[in-house]
C-alpha cells in the first residue's frame, strides 16, 4: 500500500465537502433542540431532501432550484412532526422515529425513476487569482456556494441564538416552556418555527449529498448521516461553532476510510466502512460521560411535551 498516494490538500478539500451535509443538518437540529424539540427524524428529512433536490434539479436543470425544493420538502416533512408533537402532544421520540421510517419510504418511492442518472453539476465558486493559489486555493476558494452557505448558517445561528432577542426567547422556550408561556410567549408557534428551520436545513444537507457530494441518487443514500448529525449536536454541547468541529471530525474519518478503501488496504472494506459509526459512538461516550456539563448545556425542556394551562 502506498500512503503517499494520499494528497493532504485534496484530502482536506474533500473533507470539507463530506462535512457539509452534516453541518447543515446538525445546525438545523441544534436550533430545534435549543427550542426544546428533540426531532429524531433528521435522517428521514435528509433523505427526502436528497431526492426532492435531485428530482427538481434534474427536471429543471437548475441545482439552485433543487436546493430550494429540498429545503421546502424537509420543512414540509418536519411540520408533520410539528403537528403531531406540538398540536397533538405525541411522544417526540416515537414521532421522530416515525418520521425517519416514513421519509425513507417516501424518498424511495419518489426516487424510483431517478436511479443511475447524473444531476446537473453545481458550479464551483471560481475567484480568478484566489482559487489558483497553491494549497490555499483549493482549500479555501475552490468550493461550491452551498459549502460557504453552510458555514454562514453556523455563524448566523450563533449570532441569532446568542446575540438577538428572538434567539433569547427561543432559548427560553427550550429552557422552560411553562415559564415562557407564563411570560406570554407563544411556545407552540416558536417551536413550530424551529422545527421547520431544522427540517429545511436537513433537507439542504440531503440535497448536498445527492447533488454535490456523491452526486447521484441511490436508495438509503444518507446511510445514517442524519443520526450522525444528531450525535454531533450532543458532541457540540448545543453550541453552533462546535458543530463545525464535530462535522469536520466525521468528515475526516469518512474521507480517510474511503481513501484507504480505494487504496485497497488489506483489511476488507466492510471493516473500514464501520469506522464512522464506531467513531460516533466513541465521541458520544467521551462527551456524555461528563454528566454535569451535559446537564448544564442541554435545554432543560428538551423532548418534553408542552400543554398550555388555563
Amino acid at each position: 500500500m502506498d500512503l503517499s498516494a494520499l494528497d493532504p490538500v485534496a484530502l482536506i478539500a474533500s473533507l470539507l465537502v463530506a462535512a457539509t451535509p452534516l453541518i447543515l443538518a446538525a445546525t438545523g437540529e441544534l436550533v430545534a433542540e435549543k427550542a426544546g424539540v428533540l426531532n429524531l427524524g433528521v435522517e428521514g428529512m435528509m433523505i427526502l431532501g436528497a431526492i426532492a433536490g435531485f428530482a427538481v434539479a434534474v427536471e429543471s436543470g437548475s441545482p439552485a432550484l433543487g436546493f430550494l425544493a429540498a429545503a421546502f420538502a424537509g420543512a414540509a416533512l418536519s411540520l408533520i412532526f410539528g403537528l403531531l408533537t406540538q398540536m397533538l402532544l405525541s411522544n417526540q421520540v416515537a414521532t421522530g422515529l416515525a418520521l425517519t421510517l416514513f421519509g425513507l419510504g417516501l424518498a424511495a418511492l419518489i426516487g424510483q425513476p431517478y436511479s443511475g442518472i447524473k444531476p446537473p453539476s453545481t458550479p464551483q465558486l471560481d475567484l480568478p487569482g484566489l482559487s489558483d493559489l497553491p494549497v490555499l486555493g483549493p482549500l479555501l476558494f475552490g468550493h461550491d456556494a452551498m459549502l460557504y452557505l453552510a458555514l454562514a448558517l453556523v455563524a448566523g445561528s450563533w449570532w441569532f441564538l446568542s446575540r438577538t432577542r428572538a434567539g433569547l426567547i427561543l432559548r427560553a422556550v427550550g429552557e422552560s416552556h411553562d415559564a415562557a408561556h407564563a411570560l406570554g410567549y407563544p411556545v407552540v408557534a416558536i417551536r413550530l418555527g424551529a422545527i421547520a428551520f431544522g427540517g429545511a436545513c436537513a433537507g439542504l444537507g440531503g440535497a448536498y449529498l445527492s447533488l454535490i457530494r456523491v452526486p447521484q441518487w441511490t436508495e438509503g443514500m444518507t446511510a445514517g448521516a442524519g443520526w450522525i448529525a444528531l450525535a454531533i449536536v450532543v458532541f457540540a454541547s448545543w453550541k453552533p461553532w462546535r458543530v463545525l468541529l464535530g462535522a469536520w471530525l466525521f468528515g475526516g474519518v469518512t474521507i480517510l476510510q474511503l481513501n484507504l478503501q480505494a487504496l485497497g488496504l488489506d483489511i476488507g472494506s466492510a471493516w473500514l466502512s464501520m469506522t464512522p459509526y464506531l467513531v460516533t459512538i466513541l465521541v458520544l461516550v467521551l462527551i456524555s460521560a461528563d454528566r454535569t456539563r451535559v446537564a448544564l448545556n442541554a435545554p432543560a425542556s428538551l423532548g418534553r411535551v408542552f400543554r398550555a394551562s388555563g
Binding site: S90, A98, L109, Q112, S288
Partner: protein, 356 residues
C-alpha cells in the same frame, strides 16, 4: 369551535380503540396514496388487506412474516415501557443470525438434535451482547442509547458483509458473499406441511404468553412500567434504573437475536447480506400499534404481517413499488400517534367567549 380538554384519567376504551382507528385512518390515507400513484385504490387495498386472508398459503405466510415482528416487538415494548429506547433491534437481529449461522456452519454435517438449541442460544446471546453495548455505555457513560444502538445497526450490517465475504463464505460459492446452505439438522422443522411455517412460530407464541404474565403479574414488569410512567416514583419504590436499562436492552436484544436465528434457520436456510429486511425497524411500529402490551403486539404483528404479504402481492399484481408499503407503514405509525391524543384528551365544544 372545538377544543381539547384533558380527561381526568386516561380512557381505557380509547386505549383499545385507537389502534383500530389508526388502521382505519391508514386505509383512507393509503387509498389516497395508491390513487396518487395511478393505481386503483380499492383494488390495491383489496390485494393488500383481503387477499392474504383468503388464500391458505398466504395465511401461512402471515405466520412466517409475523413471527419475527412479534418476537422483536415483544422485547422492544418492554424497553419502550421503561423509557429505554432500543432502536437498534435490526443490528441485534443481524448479530443473532450471524452467530447462529457460525454455529450451524461450525458443525456442518454433524447431525444432532442439540444443534438447533445451540444455535438459538448463540442467537440469544449475540443479540443480548450487542444490546449490552448501548446498555453499558448508557449506565456507565450516560451515552444516549438511541444513537448508540442505531449506530450499531450500521456496524452490524458491515459485520455481516465481512463475515459472509470472509470466514462464513461458501467455499464452493464462486466468491459470492453467501454462506453454504445449512444442512438438515440446522434447519428449523416445518410444523405445517407444504408451508414455510417453522417451529420458531410456536416458540414465539409461547414467549408472548410468558411476557404477558411477566408484565401483568411480576414485580419486574411492575418496575418496568413504573420507571416509564414516573421515574422518580420508581426510585421511591426501590427500582434501580440501571438494572432496568440493562435488563430491558438485553431482553429486547436477545429476542431480536432469536428472531435472527429463526430467520436464518427457517425461511432463509443460509446467511446472506440480504437477510435483514428491516424487521427490526418495522417492529417499532408493531410495538406501538400493540400499545406496548404483549397480547396487543401479537395482534399488531398479525396486522403488519398482512401488509408484508399483501404488499408483495400488490407488487407483483399491480406493480405497486415496495417502497409504497414502507410509506404505508410510516403512515400507520403517524395515525396512531395522532389519534393517541384521545386517550388523554377529548374534544369538547368550546363555550362562546364573552371577552374578546
Amino acid at each position: 369551535m372545538w377544543r381539547l380538554e384533558a380527561r381526568p384519567e386516561p380512557s381505557r376504551a380509547m386505549q383499545l380503540a385507537t389502534p383500530v382507528l389508526a388502521v382505519a385512518l391508514t386505509l383512507v390515507l393509503g387509498a389516497a396514496l395508491f390513487a396518487a400513484l395511478g393505481k386503483d385504490p380499492l383494488a390495491a387495498l383489496r390485494i393488500i388487506f383481503l387477499d392474504p386472508l383468503l388464500d391458505p398459503y398466504s395465511r401461512s405466510e402471515l405466520l412466517v412474516k409475523g413471527a419475527p415482528l412479534v418476537l422483536i416487538a415483544l422485547g422492544l415494548s418492554l424497553g419502550f415501557r421503561a423509557g429505554v429506547w432500543n432502536i437498534g433491534a435490526e443490528g441485534q437481529f443481524i448479530m443473532g443470525a450471524t452467530a447462529a449461522s457460525a454455529v450451524a456452519l461450525a458443525f456442518f454435517d454433524v447431525p444432532g438434535i442439540w444443534l438447533l438449541p445451540l444455535m438459538a442460544l448463540a442467537g440469544l446471546l449475540a443479540g443480548a451482547g450487542w444490546a449490552l453495548i448501548p446498555a453499558l455505555l448508557k449506565i456507565r457513560f450516560n451515552a444516549n442509547e438511541i444513537l448508540v444502538s442505531l449506530m450499531l445497526v450500521y456496524v452490524a450490517e458491515q459485520f455481516l458483509i465481512a463475515m459472509v465475504s470472509g470466514p462464513l463464505r461458501d467455499p464452493q460459492g464462486f466468491n459470492f458473499p453467501l454462506s453454504r446452505l445449512f444442512h438438515d439438522s440446522a434447519v428449523l422443522p416445518v410444523i405445517i406441511e407444504f408451508t414455510r411455517v417453522h417451529a420458531g412460530v410456536l416458540v414465539t407464541l409461547m414467549l408472548v404468553a410468558v411476557f404477558w404474565a411477566l408484565m401483568r403479574w411480576h414485580v419486574l414488569g411492575f418496575a418496568i412500567r413504573l420507571m416509564g410512567e414516573a421515574p422518580r416514583a420508581a426510585g421511591f419504590a426501590g427500582v434501580r434504573p440501571n438494572r432496568i436499562v440493562v435488563i430491558s436492552l438485553c431482553a429486547s436484544g436477545a429476542l431480536a437475536g432469536l428472531a435472527g436465528m429463526f430467520e436464518v434457520a427457517g425461511p432463509a436456510g443460509q446467511l446472506a447480506p440480504a437477510l435483514p429486511v428491516g424487521y427490526g425497524f418495522t417492529a417499532i411500529i408493531v410495538a406501538y400499534l400493540g400499545r406496548l402490551d404483549p397480547l396487543g403486539v401479537l395482534l399488531a404483528g398479525g396486522v403488519m404481517a398482512v401488509t408484508y404479504v399483501g404488499g408483495e402481492g400488490a407488487q407483483f399484481g399491480l406493480g405497486v413499488p415496495a417502497a409504497a408499503n414502507e410509506v404505508f407503514r410510516g403512515m400507520l405509525l403517524f395515525s396512531l400517534l395522532a389519534l393517541n391524543i384521545f386517550v388523554s384528551y377529548r374534544l369538547v365544544r368550546a363555550p362562546a367567549r364573552k371577552v374578546a
